[in-house]
């Protein structure tokens, strides 16, 4: 039966091309959308994952760092530093800041750090250095590429000119990118002379998180790094997941429709042949095998083509549209393969119903 399925597909090349193209389109859509979503989540997590601390202390009621801003008095850090079990503290000072580049307005998420202890500094330096001076700045590679900025160029933030001394990676949040200035410089630009957004607390070995939380002011919010990552990822989930799910469903439906229609039209065209098979003694399982094999073959080829197109699109976007980020994970490609198989089986349903209604007695009519 497989040879008949393969033969039917090979013989109907235009129909096969439409079928494979449709699945490839659907798979590409699904892979890229999923890749985009994963990349968004990953980028949000990347920075916070890299901050080496045990606890984040923030203003009570803070949701995430992008929708609400935590404001703490700067002297709170000194109080926390002398709390039992605390080994070290670091201030976290950051906020979105607007700037003009040429004719366009844009924003950067400016974070302050100390080059001598760069806990909150850039993750990876792609060019230049993270050992910057007070009038220097590190910007993300995506931002640099988008705006054609190179090392040595000057950016003016809130009237403060800063020379680009480093270009980092891992600080792209798609809608905006991270930039890093020395802590004092950042405080001046952001107007946070007497404010910290959060205090990063490193506990002594053996110290207990809960004991620390019980000791400090109950109005403060304390989160572990994992919770900080989760709450910030939730921004992406809440904002994009419903849209992503709709687009994934559309891709899935497009795939089913294209494969289903092409296989269905093939069945209609080969109605007599299916009648002959039934007359010869084919059982429903034989016909199921022929039609499902056709559908799975077309979908399999479409999947391979779709994955190839997705990787090509990713390669191209990295070069020419860097803000279009996609993470293609093996686990995602695996479930998309399963989804494609489900798509193929679903697409075979209507043709199978059609075949089931073919009367084999028809074959005796010329």
């Amino acid at each position: 039966m497989f040879s008949l399925a393969f033969g039917n597909l090979a013989r109907e090349r235009t129909r096969l091309a439409i079928s494979v193209g449709g699945v490839a389109f659907a798979v590409t859509l699904i892979v890229l959308i999923r890749g985009l979503f994963v990349a968004y989540q990953s980028r949000v997590a990347d920075y916070f994952d890299g901050v080496d601390t045990d606890l984040w202390v923030m203003q009570s009621g803070t949701a995430d760092f992008f929708h609400s801003i935590s404001l703490l008095p700067r002297d709170l850090r000194a109080d926390l530093e002398v709390t039992a079990g605390v080994a070290e503290t670091q201030p976290y000072v950051a906020r979105l800041v607007a700037l003009d580049i040429g004719d366009s307005d844009t924003v950067l998420y400016l974070v302050g750090y100390e080059p001598t202890n760069p806990v909150t500094g850039p993750r990876n330096i792609a060019a230049g250095t993270d050992q910057i001076g007070p009038d220097e700045i590190v910007i993300d590679k995506v931002f640099a590429t988008q705006h054609g900025i190179e090392l040595g160029d000057i950016l003016t933030l809130e009237g403060t000119p800063l020379t680009v001394a480093g270009i980092s990676t891992g600080g792209d949040l798609v809608m905006f990118q991270y930039a890093f200035a020395r802590l004092a410089t950042a405080r001046t630009i952001l107007g946070f002379e007497a404010i910290d957004n959060a205090v990063l607390v490193t506990l002594e070995t053996g110290a207990d998180d809960d004991e620390f939380v019980a000791t400090i002011d109950s109005d403060l919010l304390v989160r572990t790094p994992g919770e900080v990552v989760a709450v910030n990822q939730r921004v992406i989930n809440d904002g994009f997941l419903p849209v992503i799910e709709v687009l994934l469903a559309l891709g899935f439906i497009v795939g089913i429709a294209v494969v289903g229609l092409t296989i269905y039209s093939s069945v209609i065209e080969r109605r007599r042949e299916y009648g002959v098979l039934k007359a010869l003694g084919a059982r429903p399982r034989h016909l199921l095998a022929v039609i499902t094999s056709q559908s799975l073959l077309a979908a399999g080829l479409g999947y391979v083509l779709g994955i190839a197109i997705s990787f090509a699109a990713r390669w191209a976007s990295e070069r020419w549209v860097p803000q279009f980020i996609t993470d293609l994970r093996t686990s995602d490609l695996a479930w998309i393969a399963v989804a494609t198989a489900v798509m193929a089986i679903a697409a075979a349903t209507f043709p199978l119903i059609r075949v089931a209604h073919i009367d084999p007695a028809e074959v005796f009519r010329s």
């Binding site: 008949l4 080969r270 002959v276 010869l280 003694g281 059982r283 074959v363 005796f364």
Partner: protein, 297 residues
């Protein structure tokens, strides 16, 4: 000996527009192994319905059909499919080969359905194609074969699962004379050498000589042609007709000419010379029943 095919008072009726018509009417038939039976009859006589009934593709309204001792009315649809697969070989007027498969795979298809291994079915298919002088054409698809070759592939396919009964529906209708004779002689040879029963339904009077038994189906009723009827051939359309049921007749130089319809008679009247010079000879009646000569105009 159990007959390969036994029909007992088989009737199949269809109701259209509130009117019930018996396409097959109380047919009795018993066919022994190795017998080649040809059933002839004009269009609309019920040949196709009879084939569908015998091929287990249609249920009779009344009566019973048994193939190799298996009563069809006692079998489930799955068992009927299995019976068609293993006990019956089908040969169709339009060959009905699977266009995307080559000759070998077409022949092997019933073997695939029967669960033979790939090696077994290809070996069997190649043996059959070889025996039908098609070994050179085994990798050709149907659109690369002549009509005669397609029909031989169809015959090989019918033999694939070594069935007891071969049903052939107008096997020569789409073939030229030479290919038609070759196909029929193959069927004759198969019946004689393999003891298979071959039942051919046709209106091609050229092939009647090959039959061990020749039957005539008219209005759903099966008759022994030699005993029951005077058969004549309409000189215009070439259709064989029961002389006594001719739509009309003409007397030409003292000889009666029978017509299937008034239309054929009118065509004949316009230029009798044209039709008498064609290859359609007006067969003389072969039965004791004398054709009437009324209705002459």
């Amino acid at each position: 000996m159990t007959p390969v095919l036994a029909l007992d008072q088989v009737t199949r009726t269809f109701t259209t527009g509130g009117k019930t018509i018996a396409a097959v009417d109380h047919v009795d038939l018993c066919v022994e192994p190795g017998e080649l039976v040809i059933i002839m009859g004009p269009s609309g006589s019920g040949k196709t319905t009879l084939l569908q009934l015998i091929g287990a593709l249609l249920s009779p309204t009344s009566g019973t059909i048994a193939i190799n001792g298996h009563r069809l009315d006692e079998l489930s649809s799955a068992e009927l499919a299995d019976l068609r697969l293993r006990q019956i070989g089908f040969i169709f007027q339009t060959f009905n080969l699977l266009e995307s498969l080559d000759a070998t795979d077409n022949v092997a298809t019933p073997g695939t359905l029967a669960g033979l291994s790939r090696r077994q079915r290809r070996q069997r298919a190649n043996e059959l194609l070889d025996s039908l002088d098609l070994s050179e054409r085994c990798h050709h698809r149907p659109d690369q074969l002549s009509g005669g070759e397609k029909q031989r592939v169809a015959i090989a396919r019918a033999l694939m699962n070594d069935p007891a009964l071969i049903l052939a529906d107008e096997p020569t209708a789409n073939l030229d004379s030479a290919s038609g004779y070759q196909a029929l002689h193959l069927l004759q040879d198969i019946a004689a050498t393999t003891d298979k029963t071959v039942l051919v339904v046709t209106h091609d009077h050229r092939i009647t000589d090959a039959a061990d038994r020749l039957l005539w189906l008219a209005d759903g009723v099966l008759h022994d042609r030699q005993a029951d009827f005077a058969i004549a051939t309409d000189p215009v359309c070439g259709m064989e007709i029961i002389a006594e049921r001719a739509a009309t007749t003409r007397q030409v130089n003292g000889t009666t000419v029978w017509f299937c319809s008034q239309l054929c008679a009118q065509k004949y009247d316009q230029n009798p010379t044209l039709w008498t010079s064609t290859t359609h000879s007006n067969d003389p009646p072969t039965s004791p029943v004398s054709p009437t000569t009324s209705d002459s105009t």
